[in-house]
Structures are given as structure tokens and as C-alpha cells.
């Protein structure tokens, strides 16, 4: 039978995939995709804990995570469009303006 540990391990694996994406991507749009992967992994963990502890709080948190992800995408894509109009690329190395 599938236990809570199985779900948590799958969630940790998906989160690690997203973390790898955040670490190795240099394109801002791809960085956003990796962030979505991480948010979805956390949602799986919330739903699984909610099911196995018979508690609705996990699902509530998952709803708010989804709302925050939606608003993050709206604002982030607006900023990406402004950046693309200004610089002509979405590469993080091109956008670095301070030499340090």
C-alpha cells in the first residue's frame, strides 16, 4: 500500500528537480518554470499530509500556494516583458549591470 512516506519522497524528488533547474538555468523564463515545479512539489506534500492525517489544513495551504503562484506569474511575466523590451534578451548574464 502507498503510505505517506512514498508521497513525501516523490515530493522531495520533484522539489530537487526544481532546485536543480533554479541552480543551473541562466534564462529568466526557464527560471520561472523551475519555480513552478518547486511550488507543485510542495502542493503534493500538503495534499498527502492532509489525506493521511485526515486534516483539511493542508489543502487550505495548497489553495493559498496556488493563489500566490498565479499572482507571481502575472507580475513576473509583466516584468519579463519590460526587461525584454529594454535589453532584448532574458539571459541573467546580460542583465547583470553591476560589476562585482
Amino acid at each position: 500500500m502507498i503510505s505517506l512516506t512514498h508521497y513525501l519522497i516523490v515530493s522531495a524528488l520533484i522539489f530537487s528537480v526544481g532546485l536543480v533547474g533554479v541552480l543551473r538555468r541562466r534564462n529568466l523564463l526557464m527560471l520561472f518554470f523551475a519555480t513552478e515545479v518547486m511550488l507543485n512539489a510542495v502542493n503534493i506534500a500538503f495534499a498527502a499530509i492532509s489525506h493521511y492525517y485526515n486534516d483539511l489544513t493542508g489543502q487550505m495551504f495548497a489553495f493559498f500556494v496556488i493563489a500566490i503562484a498565479a499572482s507571481e506569474v502575472a507580475v513576473g511575466l509583466g516584468i519579463l516583458i519590460v526587461l525584454y523590451k529594454k535589453h532584448g534578451s532574458l539571459d541573467l548574464d546580460d542583465l547583470a549591470s553591476m560589476k562585482g
Binding site: 500500500m1 502507498i2 512514498h6 508521497y7 516523490v10 522531495a12 524528488l13 520533484i14 530537487s16 528537480v17 532546485l19 536543480v20 533547474g21 541552480l23 543551473r24 538555468r25 541562466r26 534564462n27 523564463l29 526557464m30 520561472f32 518554470f33 523551475a34 513552478e36 515545479v37 507543485n40 502542493n43 503534493i44 495534499a47 489525506h51 492525517y53 485526515n54 486534516d55 483539511l56 489544513t57 489543502q59 487550505m60 495548497a62 489553495f63 493559498f64 496556488i66 500566490i68 503562484a69 498565479a70 499572482s71 507571481e72 506569474v73 502575472a74 507580475v75 511575466l77 509583466g78 516584468i79 519579463l80 516583458i81 519590460v82 525584454y84 523590451k85 529594454k86 532584448g88 539571459d91
Partner: protein
């Protein structure tokens, strides 16, 4: 039995699709595999009995967020492969090692799972949507309203940020491109 098969199928497919999202050089491939992975994650929610959450995942993520990404794709050049310069491997090893260490510490930490008690337990004989509605509109009413205001603010911010110079094309016409990139009428 079906639950076990569905769980392993969904987890293998989800991890594979998200690996494509993270590793692919093409924006369209990455976005398509991300959308497919999100559909499969809603399958996880349906297995777990969180029906309303699964439907919200389908509508908001696969419907709204991916549609927003594909509209944003029209602004950028999506057909060209993305060239990314690799960062130095020493830094990647350091960060990866630190993340692995944190993960091991989290899994090795003692879990007081017996002490966890349900704050808002599910009711017997009541559907998931009704249960969610009761808790969301009584215990979580103020966060719900704040989330609504946050979504409104995000919508206005998105419109204002993306709406400037909407009449000029970014990728089709190169003369318009130069005009935007080097504004002559900058005051």
C-alpha cells in the same frame, strides 16, 4: 491495487516530464512538458481524495498559468534554442552539496508524528468540496479575502507592466525593434 499502479505511473511520468522542463533547451518543449506534468499532479490530488484541489489545479495551473505563459511566449522568440553559458562547476558542486546536506538533515530529524492532531478534521459522509467550503469560509475567511486583494493587485500590475507600447511588435519587425531598444523620443 489501482492506487498503487496510478501512484507509480504518475510519479515516474511527472518526474520525467519535469526533468524535460528543467533540462530542455527549447522553450516550447519546456512549457509543454510543464503543462503535462501539472495535469499529472492533479491526478495525485484525485488519488488523495482532494477533489476540489485537483479541479483548482487543473483550472488555475493548466488553464490560466500555462495560457499566460503561452501568451508571453508571443513576445519572446520561442523557436530559437536558448544558449546558456554554464556556470563554473565549483560553485555548482558547493551549492549542490549544501542542498543535499540540508535535505539529509531534514530527513534525519526526528518526526513527532504521533503528536500531530487534526486541527480541522474531515467529516464523514460530507463531500470534499463542501468540507473545503465550510473551512475556507469560516476559519480561513480573512486569508481568503487577502488573497483576493493580492490577485487584484497582481492583475493590475501585470496589465500596467505589459501594456506599455503594446502597439509595437517586438520580434516581427526589426525597425520597430531598433526603435524600442534605442528609444529616440526618450525624455
Amino acid at each position: 491495487m489501482y492506487e498503487v499502479v496510478a501512484f507509480y505511473l504518475f510519479s515516474a511520468l511527472t518526474i520525467g516530464l519535469f526533468l524535460v522542463t528543467v533540462m530542455s533547451k527549447n522553450v516550447l518543449y519546456a512549457m509543454t512538458s510543464l503543462a503535462a506534468g501539472m495535469v499529472l499532479i492533479s491526478g495525485f490530488f484525485f488519488i488523495l481524495g482532494a477533489d476540489f484541489l485537483g479541479v483548482v489545479q487543473l483550472i488555475v495551473y493548466v488553464g490560466a498559468v500555462m495560457a499566460l505563459y503561452s501568451f508571453a511566449m508571443m513576445f519572446f522568440d520561442a523557436t530559437r534554442d536558448i544558449k546558456e553559458k554554464n556556470t563554473n562547476p565549483g560553485l555548482v558542486f558547493l551549492l549542490g552539496g549544501l542542498s543535499a546536506l540540508v535535505l539529509v538533515l531534514m530527513f534525519a530529524a526526528p518526526i513527532h508524528s504521533d503528536a500531530v492532531q487534526a486541527l480541522y478534521p474531515m467529516h464523514e459522509g460530507v463531500g470534499n468540496a463542501q468540507d473545503v467550503g465550510i473551512v475556507l469560509f469560516t476559519k480561513y475567511l480573512i486569508p481568503f479575502e487577502v488573497a483576493a486583494v493580492m490577485l487584484l493587485v497582481a492583475m493590475i500590475a501585470g496589465i500596467i507592466l505589459a501594456g506599455k507600447k503594446m502597439d509595437q511588435s517586438l520580434t516581427e519587425d526589426t525597425s520597430a525593434d531598433d526603435e524600442i531598444l534605442t528609444p529616440k523620443d526618450a525624455k
